[in-house]
Subunit: 245 residues, 3 copies
Amino acid sequence: MIDVIVSGDVLRATTKAMVALVSEARLHFNSDGLHSRAVDPANVAMVIVTIPSTSFEVCKVDEEKVIGVDVNRIYDISKSIKSDELVELKIEDETTLKVKFGSVNYSVALIDPSAIRKEPKVPNLELPAKIVLDAGEFRKAILAADKISDHVVFRSDETGFYIEAEGDVDRIEFHMSDAELIEFNKGEARSMFSIEYLKEFVKLAGSGDVLTTYLGNNYPVRLVFDVCDGKVKVEYILAPRIEAE
Amino acid sequence: MIDVIVSGDVLRATTKAMVALVSEARLHFNSDGLHSRAVDPANVAMVIVTIPSTSFEVCKVDEEKVIGVDVNRIYDISKSIKSDELVELKIEDETTLKVKFGSVNYSVALIDPSAIRKEPKVPNLELPAKIVLDAGEFRKAILAADKISDHVVFRSDETGFYIEAEGDVDRIEFHMSDAELIEFNKGEARSMFSIEYLKEFVKLAGSGDVLTTYLGNNYPVRLVFDVCDGKVKVEYILAPRIEAE
Amino acid sequence: MIDVIVSGDVLRATTKAMVALVSEARLHFNSDGLHSRAVDPANVAMVIVTIPSTSFEVCKVDEEKVIGVDVNRIYDISKSIKSDELVELKIEDETTLKVKFGSVNYSVALIDPSAIRKEPKVPNLELPAKIVLDAGEFRKAILAADKISDHVVFRSDETGFYIEAEGDVDRIEFHMSDAELIEFNKGEARSMFSIEYLKEFVKLAGSGDVLTTYLGNNYPVRLVFDVCDGKVKVEYILAPRIEAE
């Protein structure tokens, strides 16, 4: 049996992170907490979500268990739970997830995990640049870039980290120097990405959240968001786009 | 002549309660205050609204009077009045209702009351269960149920009050025990209702407002809302739906 | 070279005022500050915007300069700048306006001023009535009138200032007496205007902003808004509509 209690914001952030890419997913419960990963139907991006057991108020997991859920449904439910309200998730048999908060009791039908697309392996990526910045600043840059283009270049060198976009007549450049970044190894790297995906990713990030970006050359990027005061770790891996010369 | 002064929130709540069911209605002014009732075109629900004379700042009613109004129009106007701003309603002849607040003077054409559908008699209902609860909690339950079904079961027995809905695969149950309810006579009752109507009803209810529910067995329900700090009483009577076995 | 620094709210208010009428405009920079005026495509209204040099944090204008810009684009950018955040506008050559705030650098392509419709001369109007009032109250009256009609009458006489609208069955009158107005010369005047335009104008006005109205008889009206704590002056001149008898 699984019986865990967590705050509303953690459940909301976790499911919000997943619905950016998929509508159904497998959740793994074990003594370390909750873990899930999934790839979007187009195979362009992967999401990896982790709630460590210490982020739960109560975390009773009798045995390791994998369940299949409609994450859209859980995300929908989570929107009516207040951020600091406690919500209980309970699985007593193979068919039902019980979601309980306040006077409300949801019974959500589980999906046979074998009917859900197999989880991907997390690829082994060697990424020379590591950039740590405020997630709210990153979000602002992505949303600004979205107004003039559908792709952005991430670039880093010893002068700092750059996000660049070019429209038909306009150009936007977001630049943070070493001093403005939380942490920076000054690695050199440059890759181009689709804003369509990045726009979805930044939805869960607010000012004050920390984003660690691992960047390579024409190589996938790893974006690791620490949200809900560090209670949830959300990692996205996004494939690059080919930059036309 | 009729010349009454009331706060913006009272006018707004009263008209909002009515537009949930009808677009035109008869308003009765007498020394007790203002009273109105109406049935929706499908004859499924009735609304009964009462503003006692003590809820008016000024209540000058020379003689009993019935007027016909386009409640949508008055509700529209009321939305631009602040909650604690005073608004004067004045009827000097048979043709015009004057609505005055701040520097604004509306003249709204009256409708011949005989052109509006006759008011219903309030039915005499014997309802065994009386449940008093926070209207905000009730609203939350109805909105949650709406996500998975188009009808709900209200049920009460000695263990408390239940609102239940079933979707194709999910189930939601809202439960408040005797201790969580403001007042409860532990009467046994069970009826099913359309969420479509309930959703409209709960629009005017916020946390802190008190809702008294009178429930029977496959019988209409009476929902009595005390809103605007008790200055307005809104009662809805809703016909049950037949529960398929 | 031009290099000025201004707060986000000033840039937003200025461009918002212009997009109410045009999408492209000529901006004049000189030692007095920034000035622009434009007429809408239908030749019904004119907007005149002035930011005096004292409203800039820094105002470096080497020589008088006229540039052509897509004001919609600048307004769009300005929406992502906080009100009290400083934004730098820089023109180093004939082709590009650089907009810089926080870590963001926009390069906006300039438009050849000769490709933009020639600015109008400001007409010389003799307007007998001068009415100074809270812009938020004016806005409220226009939005209320918009619900029942598509034109309004502005009227002033010794008893005060009136805004009147008539619908098919309803009528609304907004009245402020001498005592309620900030300043009033009691001039007699009356003209009718299109709400379609006025609705756009009042978008930039909030409670606390001051509006000076100069009114004549079947003659254009001048509406002078002082916004952003007086840092920006926005003037609209609106042609009257013929009042059918």
